[in-house]
Symmetry: C2
Subunit: 510 residues, 2 copies
């Protein structure tokens, strides 16, 4: 568990957490550490010359907030994504329709022998501007002590900043008059933040699928660095299902179909109590272990190698700082740090994201609600599948008589796994090592991304998230991405750009 993982998890305290961690970073080393370790001086010069254009590229993109959950700027976001990759040298760029919001597909034929796939998202998470210290679409630059100059804006870290950093590498390579060492196949979706409900449709669109199958690996540019010279490589990710369980008088045929005066509870059934009773059958009394019938049937326990990787990662991070940053004091069952990290990656979860019923404002209101909703996310581990899990949850509820409780899945996908020995992973490891960054292998991300669509048939290609650069407060107020670093252990925009240049070349030599 590295510090970058703190940031990945942290939603509210990230600024404080980053400042705290940054304050501990030594500033003794000379700046330019990454430049000394890398190569491609001509490309670096081009990247430096293009830095202001790169910053503007992020800024302009952030200004167009595509939010699938709010159906906001979606066609505009797809069109903008298409222009961005055309500008970076892609051809045959297409807006690919889905049942939901469209994807964007394109290829860049460098005449190379090998082909890398790229996965981008052009959507961003919802935001409440009132919670931000600067307007979320304005990309103001702010100095962070011990870190450098960061850009504040929705999507700067997740994922427009890191994605634009990859595009900056393509621009720099071209500006330096070099050819790309690999061909590229590009696929972006606009529904990542709502659980990628139509991503499989997108990836299996015939020409898209044909393109993806030519790739030896598919990479998502991400800011994977922490503040102490480590970068995480995930060998997989949990799957996820986001859903609502809804109990209502309408479907139940008992209790009121609408909110009525609460005195009627003495004679009418309550959909809210119905929901509570259905919910409590899903987990153990401590709320920590799913007890849905057959849930663990296909769960593959972590291997000894995977546990060893977790233990190794745990040794390179501070439990105390993690607890402080994430505002908690005890792990489940008071586990040790090491065991908690193993549990974190090993276990499937049934989590309550939200509860909504009846009156939710200040104080009370004497109503018997006609409808109650629990928003759940279920994290899946190999070899669970989304289809299996939804079916088992439905059957579990039905078996206990909760046939009336609606199960509305809004999105989700299977877990994903990529071998430690794939060329993609080996190139990632080698690039980080060359740049003096410690590659921190973890068996899987406890969170989720829809890489499973790539690793499973019919695509069946290894995936990985890669990139230096540093950002945080994803999904939270004051999301940020580091532009100019004053911390020699952390790459700013140009060094992060160069890491992609190194990676593209490393891939062909691995």
């Amino acid at each position: 568990m590295t510090r970058s993982t703190i940031d990945q998890f942290n939603r509210r305290d990230l600024i404080r957490g980053a400042a705290m961690l940054g304050a501990g970073a030594a500033l003794a080393s000379p700046f330019g550490a990454f430049a000394q370790k890398g190569g491609f001086d001509d490309v670096r010069k081009a990247a430096e010359a293009g830095k202001e254009a790169s910053v503007k590229r992020i800024r302009d993109w952030v200004a167009l907030d595509s939010i699938a959950a709010e159906n906001r700027n979606m066609p505009e976001g797809a069109a903008y994504m298409a222009e961005l990759i055309k500008d970076a040298g892609f051809s045959g760029v297409q807006i690919v329709p889905t049942k939901g919001h469209p994807g964007v597909f394109g290829t860049l034929d460098a005449g190379a022998k090998r082909t890398l796939g790229l996965y981008f998202m052009y959507d961003v998470k919802q935001y409440d501007a009132a919670e931000w210290t600067s307007p979320p679409l304005d990309c103001r630059m702010v100095d962070r002590k011990g870190l450098g100059s960061v850009m504040i804006g929705r999507g700067t870290a997740n994922h427009k900043g890191p994605e634009a950093t990859f595009l900056a590498a393509l621009h720099a390579i071209r500006a330096a008059g070099r050819k790309l060492p690999v061909n590229l196949v590009f696929l972006a979706e606009g529904e990542e933040e709502i659980g990628s409900p139509n991503f499989r449709q997108l990836a299996t669109t015939p020409n898209v699928l044909a393109g993806l199958k030519r790739c030896e690996g598919i990479m998502m540019p991400t800011a994977m660095a922490d503040l102490e010279g480590n970068a995480t490589i995930e060998l997989g990710a949990k799957g996820i299902i986001e859903l609502e369980l809804v109990a209502s008088g309408e479907k139940w045929g008992r209790g009121p179909r609408k909110d009525v005066h609460s005195s009627l509870k003495a004679a009418l059934d309550s959909p809210a109590w119905r929901l509570v009773q259905a919910l409590q059958t899903l987990v153990s009394p401590d709320g920590n272990t799913p007890v849905i019938d057959g849930w663990f049937e296909n769960v593959r326990p972590l291997t000894d190698r995977e546990k060893a990787l977790i233990r190794e990662a745990t040794r390179h991070s501070s439990e105390a700082q993690l607890k402080e940053a994430l505002s908690f004091t005890h792990w489940i069952d008071n586990l040790s740090y090491e065991d908690a990290m193993i549990r974190l990656m090993q276990e499937p979860t049934v989590n309550i994201e939200g509860l909504v019923a009846g009156y939710t404002g200040p104080g009370g209101k004497t109503i018997l609600p006609g409808r109650a909703v629990a928003k759940l996310d279920l994290r899946l581990v190999p070899n669970q599948t989304r289809t299996e899990a939804v079916g088992k949850l439905r059957a579990h509820l039905d078996k206990r008589g909760f046939n009336d409780v609606e199960l509305n899945v809004s999105g989700g996908y299977d877990p994903t796994e990529t071998s430690e020995t794939s060329s993609l992973t080996r190139a990632e490891v080698a690039t980080y090592r060359k740049l003096g960054v410690r590659p921190n292998l973890t068996p899987r991300l406890a969170g989720s991304w829809p890489g499973g669509t790539f690793t499973q048939p019919p695509v069946s290609v290894p995936v990985g998230r890669f990139g230096l650069g540093y950002g945080g407060a994803a999904h939270a107020p004051d999301e940020f991405y580091l532009i100019d670093s004053v911390n020699p252990k952390v790459a700013g925009l140009v060094d992060a750009t160069m890491a992609h240049v190194e990676f593209l070349h490393m891939l062909v030599s691995t």
Copy 2:
């Protein structure tokens, strides 16, 4: 269960419900039925002459919305209440401070032998203007088919309209040059809609208490009529406790103190699951019977007389119309109408008014919430008390290890009971009968009002809600109060005013 009870319960469909019921009312009888049955022709003339002033009195009062839950216009509302009763002839009018919002006290010494107490509320329920068909403070007049001309506004029915109708009676008696047959003691609070948290303090303020103890009964003016010539007399009301149960990482010392990324569920406890587990210990699996330890210890079963009253009331109403108006199809346990009505009045309840945790907006958001809240109301029946119930709930949770789950009571009071043989009740019955209205005695209101503060020591005075007039959609959009009736079975403003005139005189002759 009468039609007025439908309206009392109905929150959304009231307009439709009223129209539906009104459509069935015969219009064959001549208007002025109430005038023919009543007396006091000189006072009636004065009431008719003062009608426009009475309408304006309601309108101006509604324009000043005092909402305790929002701390809105509270001192202004108390001052306005004080002016209204001075204007109606009260003297020694005081604003009485409490720990919360102030009350208003005053007396009217008519030199009579007997004294009646009055309970008013000057606060109104919250509203969302967007849900209304006309601005909630504008008091627009609208024609309702089969009913007449109604005034639409927040507080018109609950309770400014009925209260102003009583004040109109005092104005009319004075205008006719008559003396009041009884002395009056007046007490108003501004916190009825938040569960009267400081009403006991108000009622036991020494001079207020002394005034109340002089009364032979305390009456709350209310629109108690239905559309078919019945008026309900409640011989009591359930008590209520409004509270929040809060599970949080902060208090629990487990799970996060703030919202964190939901992937952490695999290693962190969940306050939301904690809440669900605590909640489900409170009721039977069907959600219908409280199973809090010792809950029924002091519950007095309904007497045979009380059950007989309920059965009698049930015979005068339509189950089908009730189900339609309140949007449900089955009573608890598929009870018969009669048994459902007995259960309605007999049973204490533990009701979920609202659930709030984590993300409550559209779609999902992958967070593990640091805090989860259930808003509950508990209805109490004789001889439960608020103090007993809060203590038992706390003990129940503690015994099951939920010591960390906060129990925050926002308001509430004990049940209340008034004898069928009190002079107050007898005068109510006699007044209705004289006016040709069928008095519909019910053992108790399934809802609540803080009458228990009056019926219990140290006040120990019978209470009752009384009044003709017709209104509805209390707590709901388009709350209304009938001004000019075209339905001979339903009293408009002047006839409802005259019902109070009759009642005041009936009280001294009963």
